[in-house]
Symmetry: C2
């Protein structure tokens, strides 16, 4: 059972319950994913990866593989010149000299079927000189540790996300109570329905076409071209239906480049698609975190200082995951009102997996650390954790030390609603073996300027038949952007919802630029772009109607598809008739209705001190978790979650609830169940039998609550909410476990074993 | 060997020789036509047609067919409610009550493969009561003739294209010489590579999707929806590569509606594609014409009066072919300067095939009549036919009696060039059994306002990588619109041609409205739309560059992709860099480059007297044909054609030459070879063995000549030329045959038999 409190009802479709735009085609099996795509003459690619986490490559002999029947092409680094990938351009799509992880790409085969390609991999003879691996980021920094990139002379990555605002030392001096703890989050797999892959071919025009489940088609176009050494205007990116991605598909990976290179060499379509076990073994992971958190408060419960030291294991190459630290910054400096803050980061190369952003991009990790520590601090203060949070909660119209300008903010309301609905009556009052925990979050809600442009473009066309076609640069990966866009455009134009068709994904050629689906920005940024285009189209219709009806445009409105005078009820006409009249009855002055827009949110790139208002607005929320712990087995059962969010005005209640429910489910996985176990950098539980995702029976009743006011910058007042719900689940459950048992688990996931050990230790 | 005289060379890509935009994909077999398209679960449709040209339908029993294995659906008029098609809405997609031609659709089957569908047709039991057919349009008007549409009480179609300007009777009185003749043109098949068909399916959203080789996607959307009784905004039209159409695909036909209805009923994809013999038997034909032409001239060779009485056989239902009369009007009233003109039309229902527009849409038929008569008149006057034509030729800045405002016009130059290049030395001077003939044409060259809007929309996007994407509403059916658009946009933006990608055909959803590819309007109308969008995009780039370079926009130009100051050579930057700077370095003021435009030509819908300037400009030309006739066999061999055209400035010389060569080849087919022979309305030569298309050995040397000045309204001065070349071939050859032998053939095609009979008659 879920409930949504809607802010208002003055709209015709905004806030109404509608099915997801593409729900039926998904349910009916008509949606075509990368998995479903085939082309005549298509080859299948497989990649040979390293047998060692760290080794010198002495020789690669692919001649036998190349001669196998059905094998069309075999490539190694010797055969193709490819430029390095990644933020620090440290990742060659095909490795030479040495390998730095068991995922390292050594050779690739294109063959007539996947089986032949796999067999050919076995025929490639690679000679290694194994090197000692380093798989612990702390050990990797010790003198004499094996060097992952020898030429750098250190395993410390040359990236510093550290910052400091206010006099932190003085603030800690002022604090009456200081609590410090070290918190760890684990390796997690993204596990969307879609596995990674690409289908590439060179067309007769010489254009490289790529079907990809990327979340960022325009960055993909650029980066793929750069790695291949071809102009980006010779690359066409096409997105089929995408079955989730959760941040995994924000980057271009060696397999993308390899697939394209094979297509360019063979002049045939080449498809590469990870099997589920290839996915679990080779896809980038969520960024694990080791964070020492130290917070100080005055006796009356005012937070005065916070210091976080974070160690981020980058794995062998720097991917987007490391940039989770930029999201962590805002939580370190901005979750709750705290005047003096310091954040230190150490990014480390190891022979472990590389990492990617994953839903909330660092915020779930850092919020686990901060919110666990908040509860510990409240306990040390002898304060009710809800009261403590309320006292320090973020408030509207404030600025964080890092420069985040908070406009709308209903964090206090979210805390109160969560406490009320979970039935909070104070610590240790939930019953035997039961506990209640709380955690809040602070997250971008109006885009996130991590690239020079955070904008999105949209085109709206209203045709002679009353059909409205909206093309947006944004990407639908299952999050429901399509539905938000449909509702926003229908509302803006004043036409029935089913008149609006959304063109999303597909060929990116004529779609207008968008930075990609991440940072909960779709509804806010793409919605604002679509809104502006729709309002322009509406203006054109009203101007046309003005001439036809003989009333000034400002006197006209569109209601349920009917253009009418506000002052003279006799003047009116169906909007599609207006459009036809404008087009067909104006002779050589005839015009059609089409509008384009580009919305760039009013946010700032952080300066060299990492100071800046990175988002046009921010989202807030609070979750309460009621758990029951079996003291014999240590098993935690989540009985109930209250998930209260300030997402501004809710455009699409079903979508809002879906995001919250999905986020909470994912958060439960992170909190209690999911972990990629590594042995010398290799995943040892690389199947869904061994990698434990949440099942429906793990998901409790979720009380979904919307709080807050319409945001002045958001489309119809909306703020982003896609990532928020996942963030506080882990700390809320950890806090609930502590409330139930009096033991605190500081590293995720909270397994029965860890509880059992902690209880055993407690008893001793 | 061909030659093109280019008007000017002040451009970077306009007028340069480039390969057709989609040539490689066609040559390499990558282009996907309707034929190539398949979908999972796709059914195949076949149509049961009448066994009689005219009959009452007593009963239809499809029960046995419906029970056959592999048959998924069988429909008759009883099963689906469909609205009539055609101009007069006289054509039910599925017939009931009676059938009026052997093409009449009685039932349709959807089955798992085409063979099963065909077999099922045989199992449908139809009982007829045959009625006497009427297949002669003159006989059809006689009292007591069988009535095709009994409820009308007459076979005369309620359409009158007649007009009269000037005092025709008085003018004929003034004439010193009057010559009258009756001319006939035949039934001809369009025979493009693509046969007719459709592939339809209803998607999960409930949208009816149709792959179609229509030439007019937006009219198709409307008319298909109207016939199906669904809103047009629920129809999505998608055009694959189209292998020619020549006017045949301007309408929506029963098979389109039937295919869609089967898809809606079965909820599976349904494909219908004519075999070549189905095509020759059932596709609409070119409109045949019977025209009595009477012209008068003064002794000194001034044309003073022209009168044409035309009979048009509409077949059983009124299709676009009948509207050829509207094109004929302009030639009757405007080919050569003639002050008093009258045109009478009689449109007749018969049990013959229905007709469609075909390249020149009536102009080749009427020009055969008028230009044959012109030669006869010149001979009667004792004047050189070239001199006679020159004397009466159209001139710039004149207005025809019907209101066609001629701006640019190089008809005199075309006549002179044709005479000079063919080596004209006067009548009967080409040598034994040889003859030279001339014919001119007057045709729309700036669109043709036969629908309320003659416009086209375009969108131009310049991306961060310097890629330019152009989407136009126009349709590529092989005519080369894609290449013209590419050149125009590259020229307007000042960027290399290969940076411009043209999006044409495909999904019509986001393309902006266009009336369709017909009337030689593509380069002119769609080119003007693309030009305006490109110039707007250029303006945006120059404004952006102005801020970056610190120079006023009007001081900036783009040359070879480089934006530079005209006055300060130190100020310059690559255009794509400008675009990136505008986007990425302007913070929240960042913008992208996208422009849309809609071009509606400054032409007029004719008034109730059929008076009006139907096109924004007009094309002219003259052809000379040198033929040799074997007096024993009557066989005509065309030795040489000079084809001189005023197409304004030639955008794409290869395209221009291709259109001229193709048009002349088609004209030779019409003149000498092609004819659908009918027996009681049924085609008796319905295969390429019996229906004689021109072969490469039938095509002589063609001297392609461009004359004329840039047109002020045309994009870079271009005028349409697609149809022109086909128009004068027939009369030029007929006039050459007369020059060679002294016998005149007044009905096409000019077969050996007709010549032999004429010669035999002459001898008698």
């Amino acid at each position: 059972m879920t409930s949504v409190e809607l802010v208002g009802r003055e709209f015709s479709v905004i806030g109404s319950r509608v099915p997801k735009y593409d729900a039926l085609e998904k349910v009916l099996g008509e949606a075509r994913y990368l998995l479903d795509l085939e082309m005549p003459g298509m080859l299948h690619a497989k990649i040979l990866r390293s047998s060692h986490p760290h080794a010198r490559l002495l020789s690669i002999d692919a001649s036998k593989a190349a001669r196998m029947p059905g094998v069309v092409d075999v490539i190694t680094a010797r055969d193709v010149r490819l430029n390095n990938l990644g933020y620090l351009k440290d990742n060659p799509p095909l490795k030479w000299g040495k390998v730095r992880s068991v995922r390292d790409e050594i050779a690739a085969v294109a063959a007539v079927d996947p089986e032949t390609a796999s067999e050919a991999l076995h025929a490639i003879d690679v000679k290694y000189e194994p090197l000692p691996p380093v798989t612990d980021p702390v050990a990797a920094l010790e003198p004499g540790a094996p060097l992952v990139h020898e030429e750098l002379g250190t395993n410390r990555v040359n990236l510093d996300f550290g910052l400091s605002y206010g006099d932190v030392e003085a603030a800690f001096q002022r604090a009456d109570v200081v609590v410090e703890g070290t918190y760890r989050t684990q390796y997690v797999a993204h596990t969307p329905g879609d596995t990674m892959g690409a289908l590439a071919w060179v067309d007769a025009q010489g254009i490289l076409n790529v079907y990809t489940n990327t979340q960022a088609p325009f960055l993909y176009q650029r980066w793929l071209a750069e790695s291949l050494g071809i102009p980006a205007h010779r690359v066409r990116v096409i997105q089929p239906h995408i079955g989730g991605a959760f941040g995994r598909n924000l980057d271009v990976y060696p397999h993308d480049v390899i697939t394209a290179a094979l297509a360019m060499r063979t002049r045939r379509p080449v498809k590469l698609l990870f099997t589920r076990s290839e996915e679990l073994q080779n896809a980038p992971t969520k960024q694990p975190l080791i964070a020492r958190v130290r917070q100080g408060a005055t006796r009356d419960g005012r937070l005065v200082a916070r210091e976080v030291d974070a160690i981020l294991d980058a794995g062998a190459y720097v991917g987007w995951g490391v940039f989770d630290a930029r999201v962590m910054q805002y939580t370190v400096t901005g979750l709750y009102s705290v005047p003096a803050v310091r954040f230190r980061t150490t990014v480390v190369y190891t022979n472990n997996p590389s990492t990617a952003a994953m839903r909330s991009a660092g915020n779930s990790q850092i919020t686990f650390a901060v919110e666990s520590n908040m509860d510990e601090l409240a306990e040390r203060l002898g304060m009710d954790p809800v009261e403590f949070r309320l006292l320090n909660a973020n408030r509207p119209n404030t600025v964080t030390p890092q420069g985040a300008r908070i406009t709308t903010c209903a964090m206090p309301e979210a805390i109160r609603e969560a406490a009320r609905r979970i039935g909070w009556r104070g610590r240790h009052s939930a019953g035997p073996h039961r506990g209640i925990g709380f955690a809040c979050y602070f997250h971008v809600g109006g885009g996130a300027r991590i690239y020079r442009s955070d904008g999105c473009g949209a085109i709206v066309k209203v045709d002679d038949f009353g059909g409205v076609i909206v093309s947006v640069g944004g990407t639908e990966i299952g999050e429901g952007l399509d539905t938000s866009i449909q509702l926003i455009v229908a509302e803006a134009l004043g036409v029935p919802r089913d008149r609006v068709r959304v063109q999303i994904n597909g060929d990116a050629s004529m779609r207008l630029w968008d930075v990609g689906t991440h940072a909960s920005r779709g509804t806010f940024v793409c919605g604002n772009a679509a809104l502006r285009a729709a309002l322009d189209a509406r203006r054109q219709i009203l101007e046309g109607a003005s001439k036809i009806l003989g009333a000034p445009p400002e006197d006209l409105e569109v209601v349920d598809g009917f253009v009418r005078s506000r002052t003279d009820p006799s003047k009116g006409m169906e909007y599609d008739k207006v459009v036809r009249r404008m087009h067909f009855f104006s002779g050589a002055q005839g015009r059609i209705v089409v509008a384009s827009s580009f919305y760039e949110p009013p946010s700032e790139e952080p300066d060299e001190r990492w100071h800046g208002n990175v988002s046009a607005t921010y989202g807030f929320g609070c979750q309460a978790a009621l758990v029951e712990v079996d003291p014999e087995t240590g098993r935690v059962k989540v009985l109930r979650i209250v998930s209260a969010h300030d997402a501004g005005r809710v455009i699409n209640p079903n979508g809002f609830e879906g995001q919250v429910q999905g986020g909470v489910a994912m958060g439960i996985g992170l909190a209690l169940l999911e972990e990629l176990h590594l042995s010398e950098g290799r995943v040892v539980n690389g199947s869904f039998e061994d990698y434990r995702l949440p099942r429906v029976t793990d998901i409790p009743e979720i009380d979904v609550v919307s709080v807050g006011e319409p945001d002045p910058e958001g489309p119809y007042g909306a703020k982003g909410v896609a990532e928020g719900p996942v963030i506080p689940v882990g700390p809320a459950i950890a806090n609930a476990v502590a409330d139930a048992l009096g033991v605190r688990i500081r590293d995720l996931p909270i397994t029965p074993e860890k509880i059992w050990r902690a209880l055993a230790l407690n008893v001793q």
